[in-house]
């Protein structure tokens, strides 16, 4: 039985940031017997108990009102939980987590002050700039649309590196303090990441976002929950993790992406034309991802660090039963972080 002052909420996870790599791809889901409704239920079913434990959420969705963008679902959830938490009930002295929305240049240019102000108590927008990606002053471009077409290579190149910097900063955490005002604010790094779906072609960066986020998690030993039974990037990563030793999954290799996503080939070539602000290229990132996946495949409990056993991870990597996947993720989070049950 819980202690009287922590029955339904706690501050056990107040410094934890749980990241969702989740995207809606209609055909992938319908082929597996589910739809947007199921994905939303899955995400909210995980998010709500986490918020009540004080954990915050990271989701890199846009601010456009469109089908399959879960930003507003999460914001509405957080707003409702905060309102419930404001009534000074028995255990409402614990803070409810919030949303961290990491956004890279130039995408943050479309976020208006009105949008940010409206949700300021639920969400912290973290703008990742070209400077933070390592670009020098003479390499930095203006706001979206302000540069001429002759700069299109530079736009593609800078955008890709800023996206990569955003994913690194999300994993590591960052300092948002305002020294002049004596105000300290730190954004925690990701404590666990949940991967489901995800685009594997037609993306804008060095590699599919889900792949790069997974690579950061594997590098840093961040608990990783990969749901492989719902198509997209999650399925490709699962295939790699479950492949026999020596076998390759083409969709995890640079050659495949160079053919299928022309921007990637372009960025790789531009690495020979422009100064690189960081020491990697698309090709080197794919190589590193391949090695990380190979290493991880040897021992899931150790490499994925997610509190699940080898068999439970294999199930999570393959199941197309969204309720079973949710149960496994919750079980792993409970065990991994020694939380009291993620009561809802």
């Amino acid at each position: 039985m819980n202690t009287p002052n922590t029955k339904y909420r706690s501050n056990q996870s107040v410094d934890r940031l749980i990241a969702f790599s989740i995207s809606y791809q209609r055909e992938n889901l319908l082929a597996r017997g589910v739809g947007l409704e199921h994905l939303r239920e899955f995400m909210l079913g995980i998010a709500r108990p986490l918020l009540r434990q004080g954990a915050s959420l990271a989701y890199g969705g846009s601010w456009a009102q469109m089908e399959g963008n879960f930003t507003y679902d999460l914001l509405e959830l957080i707003k409702a939980e905060q309102e419930d938490n404001s009534i000074q009930g028995p255990d409402t002295s614990f803070p409810i987590g919030s949303l961290y929305n990491h956004v890279a240049w130039p995408y943050y240019d479309s976020i208006t002050p009105e949008i940010e102000a409206q949700w300021v108590n639920c969400c912290r927008i973290i703008r990742v700039t070209q400077e933070e990606a390592g670009f020098r002053e003479d390499e930095i471009l203006g706001p979206a649309g302000s540069d001429s077409d002759s700069n299109s290579d530079r736009i593609v190149f800078n955008r890709a590196y800023v996206l990569s910097a955003m994913r690194r900063i999300m994993s590591e955490g960052c300092d948002l303090s305002l020294p002049a005002l004596g105000h300290q604010a730190f954004v925690p790094g990701v404590a666990a990441r949940i991967v489901i779906g995800g685009k594997v072609d037609g993306y804008a960066g060095m590699m599919p976002g889900f792949f790069e986020e997974t690579l950061h998690a594997l590098r840093r030993g961040i608990p990783l929950y990969i749901l492989g039974g719902f198509g997209g990037g999650g399925e490709v990563l699962a295939k790699g993790l479950l492949a026999d030793a020596g076998a390759t999954v083409p969709e995890l290799g640079f050659d495949h992406h160079r053919r299928e996503t022309p921007d990637v080939a372009c960025i790789n070539e531009l690495c020979g034309k422009f100064r690189k602000p960081a020491g990697f290229t698309p090709e080197s990132l794919f190589d590193e991802l391949g090695s990380a996946i190979d290493n991880a495949a040897a021992n899931f409990p150790r490499s994925l660090s997610n509190g699940l056993s080898e068999d439970e991870n294999r199930l999570l990597l393959t199941t197309s039963d969204i309720n079973e996947a949710r149960r496994l993720v919750r079980m792993g989070l409970n065990q991994n972080f020694n939380m009291s049950r993620l009561a809802e």
């Binding site: 039985m1 819980n2 009287p4 029955k7 339904y8 909420r9 055909e27 319908l30 082929a31 597996r32 017997g33 589910v34 739809g35 409704e37 239920e41 079913g45 709500r48 108990p49 009540r52 409702a80 939980e81 309102e83 419930d84 938490n85 009534i87 009930g89 028995p90 255990d91 409402t92 198509g231 199941t319 197309s320 039963d321 309720n323 949710r326 149960r327 919750r330 049950r341 009561a343 809802e344």
Partner: protein, 410 residues
């Protein structure tokens, strides 16, 4: 024929070229799962399964001999198939044969929906079933939103009634693709004679003219001298009265017999005896029809608890909306009673499993809840209450921990 307590999951099937299919499927999903994890699981079958050819079949339905049953929920024992049948499906020989085969699956109950007249050309056992026939179909090529909405509402009404009848006949479920029939559900219409008769009469007339339900309208239905309490008790014990509509007019709160009816009906009933370590309790659903007038004031009615409420004056097609909403709640209550049986097996000794979303007054009827000390758990449907509801329950019952079915079963 098998005799079981049905805990269903629903599979909606439509051809990938069917324009209306996805919209109808999403509306069925939203209708059957109205809250946080309430209601049966609903899955789709439309696009070819992974690994199939471009025109291949969707994933199999659990129980189908084609293979895996990996989508079956661990707590379910009945699959309800809702094929949305149109010309695209009928003209596709692969899908036609698939549907024919599904009709023979022992564990499936099919509720076919005719989206156009060709649906009745379906092959095999489904042909003999009573199809759901949404009004206004087939729609014109570019239908007006209100035409589309009317068709959806008509489908949901018919579907709700079928599912409701199916769920209430626990232990009498016939499987194997055959049609469902059984005794009529009874709706109790509680109203004040002085100012609530008009909505109640209209609802009664609608029930008898447009549905296969029965109404209990005390102006006609109580034999002279017979105790009202006795009638309600008898009906509830016999599982006859399925639900109550309380017509909340201005005078309703001040009429002692109205309050008595409501109080009796909103009293949970224990389903288990003293020998069982986990108690199970059941509450039949109540829907409040708000018929208050603009002038004057009325008292609050604590017995209503968290019963849902619809405003009579503002509703279009008000009788249909009220009755269909109530039937959905009846179906959900029955489903949650059945799922509660499964949850009880996972609950700790001394727990109380209920089939409704708890509020302070309904929980107060459980004797253990009124006793000081002796911590125990109440297990309720869905995936969890809002924070404020949990806080209010905690303050009222500090010795009770409230946990959801999902928390217990996962």
């Amino acid at each position: 024929m098998t005799a079981t307590t049905p805990i269903p999951e629903v599979y909606i099937l439509w051809h990938s070229d069917c324009q209306l299919g996805e919209l109808f499927a999403k509306r069925i999903h939203a209708w059957l799962r109205p809250g946080n994890g309430l209601g049966p699981e609903v899955f789709y079958r439309c696009l070819p399964a992974p690994g199939e050819t471009e025109r291949g079949l969707p994933l199999p339905i659990p129980g189908e001999s084609r293979g895996t049953s990996r989508f079956a929920h661990s707590s379910t024992n009945l699959q309800i198939l809702i094929p949305l049948i149109d010309a695209n499906l009928i003209a596709d020989s692969l899908w036609r044969e698939w549907l024919k085969k599904l009709a023979d699956v022992e564990s499936l109950i099919a509720l076919p929906v005719a989206l156009d007249a060709t649906a009745y050309n379906v092959a095999g056992g489904l042909r003999s079933l009573n199809f759901l026939r949404p009004a206004g179909l087939p729609l014109a090529a570019d239908p007006k939103p209100e035409m589309l909405e009317a068709a959806v509402r008509s489908m949901l009404k018919q579907l709700t009634e079928s599912l409701c009848r199916l769920m209430l006949h626990r232990g009498q479920v016939q499987t194997g693709g055959t049609d469902m029939a059984g005794p009529k559900l009874k709706i109790f219409l509680s109203h004040a004679k002085v100012d609530g008769v008009e909505p109640a009469r209209r609802l009664r007339d609608y029930i008898y003219s447009k549905t296969q339900l029965a109404a209990f309208f005390d102006e006609n239905d109580i034999a002279y001298g017979r105790s009202f309490a006795e009638i309600i008790e008898t009906d509830l014990a016999a599982h006859e009265t399925a639900a109550m509509i309380a017509v909340r007019s201005s005078m309703y709160a001040s009429r002692p017999w109205c309050r008595r009816e409501l109080s009796l009906f909103r009293r949970p009933r224990r389903l288990t005896d003293d020998s069982e370590l986990v108690q199970r309790w059941q509450l039949h659903p109540t829907l409040v029809v708000d018929a208050l007038t603009a002038d004057g004031e009325t008292l609050g009615i604590p017995e209503l608890g968290n019963a849902p409420c619809l405003r009579w004056e503002s509703l279009p097609d008000r009788e249909e909306v009220v009755i269909t909403s109530l039937l959905r709640d009846v179906m959900l209550a029955s489903f949650h009673t059945a799922l509660g049986s499964a949850a009880a097996k996972h609950a700790t000794a001394g727990s109380v499993v209920i089939n409704w979303l708890p509020d302070p007054l309904s929980i107060m009827h459980i004797p253990e809840a009124r006793q000081v000390g002796g911590d125990f758990e109440v297990v309720y449907p869905g995936r969890g209450l809002s924070g404020v509801e949990l806080d209010i329950l905690w303050e009222t019952f500090p010795h009770i921990t409230f946990r959801s079915f999902d928390d217990i079963l996962s």
